[in-house]
Amino acid sequence: MSMPPFSRIAVLSLLVSACAEDLGASLADGGESTADAAGDGGAQIEHVDDGEIVHTTVDATDATAWIHLDLETRAQVDVAEPQASDAWDLGFSRFNITINGGVSGPGGMEAIVIEGALLEDVNAVPDGAWVTDAADGDDDNDDPDTVFAQWYDYDFMTHVLSARPVVYVVRTVEGGHFAIAVDDYYDDAGSSGWMQLRWKAVDP
């Protein structure tokens, strides 16, 4: 005559819930990411050579960790304290990129930002202002003003990051010169945090 006490609802729901299969189990057979890094580079970094240009994929999906790359050795380097280490050149976490200079590290790295350029057209260090990662300045966000801060456009409607046509010419900790373009933030499966770069050595 009356409905079951609320405490018995849980028991009833268990019985009822048993009616349908667990949909979560169907996920177990999902494929691995097409961009899963392996081999040359390190656990989170993979390189593919294409003539003088290196295509690099960085698994920067972890928002709580930084992945560090040394450009000369092309190796991923584990750095406990990036602020105190000159073993790395570039750092990656999600869509953030740091260079080992200024507020990001002690390596003294600097870069020239060439707007609207194509990587193929940059073969030597151009004339321009050398800049490095700086603390947050007078702008509308609270983030550090890194050299790479403007590598993307953000679409407010779709939340998609798309690469801008910018080439960064960097002088590394060891004094080498490289031109770098960021191509994409997504892997072939469309997952974010898979940073895609192309880069090459350029004449000083």
Binding site: M3, C19, G24, A63, A189, S191
Partner: protein, 649 residues
């Protein structure tokens, strides 16, 4: 059959009327013109005042979609059945197909089945395609605040789905329909009715392969559905003053779709939804007094799975289980010209979900209500119905909702009705406790446990004029003002890792006003024509602009041609919507600009022919003859054809 005195008592007092028009009877020569406006006014309704009255005498304006209309429309679910009702607009989105009433979103319309709240809102929407039509006797729609009788969510209105009851000693019915997009609907029903008891079982299988409004993208538009449901109802009557009704239902539906994302990711998404409903309604009736008790349990379980193709990075599985238990008592006493209704309601809800923090949350709500339906004069008829209800919620405290409704019918042909009342919508568990992170887009949405209810004041003033048995004209003017509406605030902060934090706050305001005008005309049983026009004015106070997606001008048109001697019925139904305004940021500057979506019309046709001496019916139909719709603004099913057969005993 149920005893006549008791039946009469139940008509007056029960929360559910046994008022299903028997399709077979309607086809017997000489039973009168069942489709005529004047005859339709004799339909018994219960939703507006919780008392059973005829449509003509109902103090609160009510519109009804009858069993006959449901059958003749070919509707397989409640959404399809009400699709072309004047003043309504269906919305289609993540939560399924919802009902937009008087310009207010589906979250502001309460959905009941036999007077009991339907649980399982997704994004504020009760998916009306989930409610199968085969067990529906009629659908009652009451516009304006109904919180005075039913509590939360009845701001724009209340839709009450009344289930069928057996009409004859033995009855059985089976129907099959097959059509475009692999749509298969198989339903069956059997019922037994004796003097003191009746029983029925109804079952349905509803499958469709889904559809795609834009084949140039990998995304599909309409999901592939595989579903079945079974319901059983039993009734004991005429046991002295005692009667009892019990009904239980189980539904299971698996919906699958493909979604492409702007990042290039492709997702196979699925929702496996199950609902269980059980209601028991004992009733004591003695003279002018009745006491109705209700025990109701409802379970909604939704398993959502997202399987990213070629990767597991963005795979997701979420299990949501919502339990709702309800106990209520309604006391009704007829004292001269007064019918006093008083009741108490207790409701316990528990949500177990991956996306809320903590994973299990409870709420309890208790309510008391009282209403006096005072009819100082029967002819000319005057009715004055004041009422008030107080809900006490464990999460936000007490909330009162008064209402006054007045009806004056100076002559039988002309009726004026007015209602003014308050409504509220309680914050959902999601709004209170959600913890949703989208790391790929770098934002987090968190619930706000300090939310207050959304509130409204609503006014409805309507006039009905029935100059002839064959002609009815109606007009309804409405004004709904919502305050403290809950919106996701643009940005409430930034986490240490740079992630943007969004949260729910009570800062919104919305107003809708408008006029709904209807006309119905019939000639004998041969022709019945109906049309409606709705003018809608809306304002979104938070953004100082119109509410998106609403048509200022909308209308419906319907035509029924019947030849009883041949057993042939042709139904034409149409809805017309004027230009709708949406707001999108199409230039990436973070600001939304208005974009007009062109007018459209839907047109459905259905032709049925009785066979087997009235025991069978063959039917064919075309839905969306004009092939309206697109993938973004208007995801309605493209033109589709179907045919089938119903056999009745």
């Amino acid at each position: 059959m149920i005893g006549a005195p008791l039946l009469a008592a139940m008509l007056r007092l029960a929360p559910v009327p046994p008022s299903e028009p028997e399709p077979d009877d309607a086809q017997v020569e000489g039973t009168g013109d069942a489709g005529a406006p004047e005859a339709a006014r004799r339909t018994i309704v219960v939703t507006g005042t919780r008392t059973a009255t005829t449509l003509a005498d109902a103090p609160v304006a009510t519109s009804v979609v009858s069993r006959q209309e449901i059958v003749e429309s070919g509707a397989q679910n409640v959404a399809e059945a009400i699709e072309e009702t004047p003043g309504l607009q269906l919305t289609r989105g993540v939560g399924g197909t919802g009902l937009r009433l008087q310009g207010l979103d589906p979250a502001y319309t309460l959905v009941l089945v036999d007077g009991q709240r339907v649980t399982g809102r997704v994004n504020g929407v009760v998916d009306l395609t989930r409610l199968s039509a085969e067990d529906v006797a009629q659908i009652e729609i009451v516009r304006g605040p109904g919180s005075v009788l039913y509590g939360a969510d009845a701001l724009a209105g209340t839709i009450n789905v009344i289930t069928r009851r057996p009409q004859r000693p033995h009855e059985a019915e089976a129907s099959v329909a097959y059509g475009s997009f692999g749509t298969l609907d198989l339903t069956g029903r059997a019922g037994v009715s004796r003097r003191r008891w009746s029983s029925s079982v109804t079952a349905g299988l509803h499958n469709t392969d889904g559809w795609d409004a834009d084949p140039s993208t990998i995304s599909t538009t309409g999901p592939r559905l595989r579903g079945w449901n079974i319901a059983t109802a039993h009734e004991l009557a005429d046991l002295g003053p005692f009667s009892l009704r019990a009904r239980a239902e189980y539904l299971r539906r698996d919906a699958r779709r493909v979604d492409g994302s702007d990042t290039g990711a492709v997702f196979d998404r699925g929702n496996l939804t199950e609902t269980v409903d059980a209601t028991i309604t004992p009733q004591l009736t003695r003279g002018p007094v009745s006491l109705t008790l209700v025990g109701h349990y409802s379970l909604f379980r939704d398993q959502f799975v997202q399987d990213q193709r070629d990767s597991t990075d963005l795979d997701q599985y979420e299990d949501t289980v919502d339990h709702l238990g309800q106990l209520g008592a309604t006391y009704q006493h007829t004292l001269g010209t007064h019918v006093v209704t008083a009741g108490i309601d207790g409701q316990l809800e528990r949500l177990v979900a991956d996306r809320v923090e903590p994973g299990t949350v409870d709420r309890a709500r208790y309510a008391m209500f009282v209403q006096d339906e005072w009819t100082p004069r029967a002819s000319p008829r005057i009715a004055i119905v004041p009422g008030a209800r107080v809900d006490v919620d464990s999460l936000f405290g007490a909330y009162p909702t008064p209402r006054i409704a007045v009806m004056v019918a100076p002559v039988r042909q002309f009726t004026l009705r007015a209602a003014y009342g308050r409504g509220f919508r309680a914050p959902t568990f999601r709004e209170l406790y959600l913890r949703f992170a989208n790391p790929s887009a770098g934002y987090v949405v968190t619930g706000n446990p300090d939310l207050r209810p959304e509130t409204s004041w609503g006014t409805q003033i309507s006039a009905e004029y029935v100059p002839l048995q064959q002609l009815a004209l109606g007009v309804n003017v409405f004004d709904n003002r919502l305050r403290d509406t809950i919106v996701v605030d643009t940005e409430v902060g930034t986490a240490q890792d740079g992630t943007s934090l969004f949260g729910y706050v009570n800062i919104g305001e919305a107003t809708t006003r408008g006029v709904e005008a209807t006309a119905v005309a019939s000639w004998r049983e041969v022709i019945r024509a109906e049309g409606s026009y709705t003018y809608l004015w809306t304002h979104d106070g938070e953004n100082d602009r119109v509410l998106p997606g609403r048509a200022v001008h909308a209308g419906t048109a319907g035509l029924r041609l019947a030849r009883r001697r041949w057993g042939t019925v042709l139904r034409v139904r149409s809805s017309i919507f004027g230009t709708r305004t949406f707001f999108v940021d199409d230039d990436g500057d973070g600001r939304e600009s208005p974009r007009a979506s062109p007018p459209f019309a839907t047109l459905d046709l259905r032709l049925s022919q009785d066979v087997l001496a009235g025991h069978g019916q063959l039917f064919v139909g075309v839905d969306n003859v004009l092939d309206a719709g697109d993938a973004t603004d208007n995801p309605i099913m493209p033109r589709g054809f179907y045919g089938g057969m119903t056999v009745r005993y």
